[in-house]
Amino acid sequence: MNAADTPLAEAPATGTADARPVVLEAKDLVRTFSSGSALNPTRVSAVDGVSLQLRAGEVLGVVGESGCGKSTLARMLVGLDRPDAGTLSYRGDDVTAGRRRDRRLLRRGVQMIFQDPYTSLDPRMTVHDIIAEPMAAARTARAAERTERVAELLGLVGLSDEMMGRFPHQFSGGQRQRIGIARALALEPDVLVCDEPVSALDVSVQAQVINLLGDIQKRLGVSILFIAHDLSVVRHIADRVAVMYLGRVAEIGDTDAIYERPAHPYTQALLSASPSLSRADRGRLSRRRILEGEPPSPVNPPTGCRFNPRCWMSTEECRTTVPLLREIPEPLPLERLVACHRAEDAVTAAA
């Protein structure tokens, strides 16, 4: 992988992480949907040139507001949707084309955990059949072995193997999410793509699922792409974070660097808007930067930097030229890339 020779990847703080091989790599992924009527066709630019590398055993968080393209990105990474442009490779094999062989490879290696545990499990299948289905489809095991493996997987996610014969409606939301996780692990994938895995759960149950994912990551060494809108959850679990805005990566890098010294104005606004979890910070409400307006829709996005209409620092350049992801010079930590023409000023202003 070329990225290994860039100074970014060799930054000392993430040095150990970089020795690990890249398992999943996306380069300049683009996905556009057609929308509107025949008379008034519109194009929705959901993902526009996103590049990501996921290394073995790494947890990469993806944060952003609704409409930023994070779910479309997740669907492309697991092969549920095909990019219009760009390449996706799994362990060095280009699987972008979605040929039969590509899909098989991707399915074995990359699995998805869905947001809503109430709709992502077939209500007419038993837990056994739900968890065994990936193995049956991939023909990796005989029926008897599959049952053994289902019991093992249920144990791994903290459920009893006596529950195998039950149906999804007999379980609570947290338990269903565990079943979804067991199903995703059935083929021993290298990568788990989790699309908002806890946001449909009750607060007191979220922590159980977050711990379980962390535990599985450590025990099995899988890489996790963790998509969430809850910034504190991402900070807890992720090694690196990518902040997305309207289909593009605004900032990507080491979790501490991004949370402590955000360099993109959007990251700064997002962090200051999320309610703090300590009472001492109360009243930040009046001090914090509250963004004007709504996240604009990905239908006919703004030109130049897509954040420019809401940005308090935007200049003429921002309205015309798309900012590329780039490093920003010392004294900042290097282990991050930011797509902003005025990142240096943004950091200085925030400090």
């Binding site: 607060v203 007191s204 922590a207 900070r235 807890h236 200051s272 709504e294």
Partner: protein
């Protein structure tokens, strides 16, 4: 306080309560058996104060809100020993009088703004309706008032947008419109049921700030119903925590959040990720919240509680006052406080 017993003690120094509820119980009688969704809830909200009602799904927080508003169907039985809005006894009112009160002196903001608005009426018509029904305003006056209100809740170019329909607004803007309708007649009490749950964080911040500034501007009491600890941390003056249909802890937000006296509150606070404990194990509460149809005996939280003793499964702890400003329903709250102190 006129009613005897510890249950009636009020955790608030102010006496100018806008809302005063005592012994509120709500049961659903529609099915084959009666489900007690809310039991014995006491609540007070003063002018200019923001009280948060925190709970998970099935804890009875939304049912409480609807019962206070009087928005219940025939399969719901609401009982209370006292329910007053200012000087009005809500229990003694006829349905018609109750209806006139809604919007005028108390109002409700719902979570799902799209389904709460009428898709075939323009925003101006929907807001204007309040003035025409309650204030007998003319169409023209109602329209002008609607424009003013839209400006007040921060909708850009209100005179142009007033004739738009709900689908032409984004989620955050719709929520602002609902808030505009709720505050149109300057009610004394605003009940907001999960007003920011469906919204993005940057929009949530805008809405919370709007609620906060309107409360000060109009001197309203706000009852904010939420499951989100972050929201509570940010805006609450006082706090009531519900579990299994009952209030398990109540008090001023600062002390409850700093030093919770009920194991449920404590566990909730500790189960959210903290910056210092990054990457480690989060404290978890085993199991999941009970369904209102199957509330455990004794203390409803005992099957999930790490401090539970035998007594907790048989006997229900009363909500007792522990300091002048706080109450909690736990046999072991003193140990919980000592343990920390």
């Amino acid at each position: 306080m006129t009613i005897g017993g510890a249950v009636s003690s009020v955790d608030s120094a102010e006496s100018d309560h806008i809302l005063r509820v005592r012994g509120l119980s709500v049961a659903f009688t529609g099915g084959s058996r009666t489900v007690d969704a809310v039991r014995d809830v006491d609540l007070d909200v003063s002018r200019g104060e923001l009280v948060a009602l925190l709970g998970e799904s099935g804890s009875g927080k939304s049912v409480t809100a609807r019962a206070i508003m009087g928005l219940v169907d025939e399969h719901t039985s609401v009982r209370a020993s006292e329910m007053r809005l200012g000087d009005i006894d809500l229990l003694a009112l006829s349905e018609g009088a109750r209806r006139r009160l809604r919007g005028e002196r108390m109002s409700l903001v719902l979570q799902d703004a799209l389904s709460a608005l009428n898709p075939v009426l323009s925003i101006g018509d929907q807001i204007g309706e309040l003035f025409r029904v309650h204030r007998r305003a003319t169409r023209k006056q109602a329209h002008a008032s609607a424009v003013d209100l839209l400006g007040l809740v921060g909708i850009p170019a209100p005179s142009r947008r007033v004739d738009d329909y709900p689908h032409q607004f984004s989620g955050g803007m719709r929520q602002r419109i609902l808030i505009a309708m709720a505050i149109a007649l300057e009610p004394e009490l605003l009940i907001a049921d999960e007003p920011t749950t469906a919204l993005d964080v940057t929009v949530q911040a805008q809405i919370l700030e709007l609620l906060d500034s309107l409360r000060a501007q109009l001197n309203m009491g706000v009852l904010l119903i939420t499951h989100d600890l972050g929201v509570v941390m940010e805006v609450a003056d006082r706090l009531a925590v519900m579990y299994g249909g009952r209030i398990v802890e109540r008090g001023d937000a600062d002390s409850v959040l700093d030093a919770p006296a009920h194991p449920y509150t404590e566990a909730l606070l500790r189960s959210v990720p903290q910056v210092e404990a990054r990457g480690g194990q989060l404290l978890t509460i085993p199991g999941s919240p009970p369904s209102p149809a199957q509330i455990p005996s004794g203390c409803a939280f005992h099957p999930r509680c790490h401090l539970a003793i035998d007594r907790c499964s048989t006997e229900r702890p009363e909500l007792l006052q522990i300091t002048p400003l706080r109450s909690t329903a736990c046999f072991r709250s003193e140990e919980l406080i000592d343990e920390r102190g």
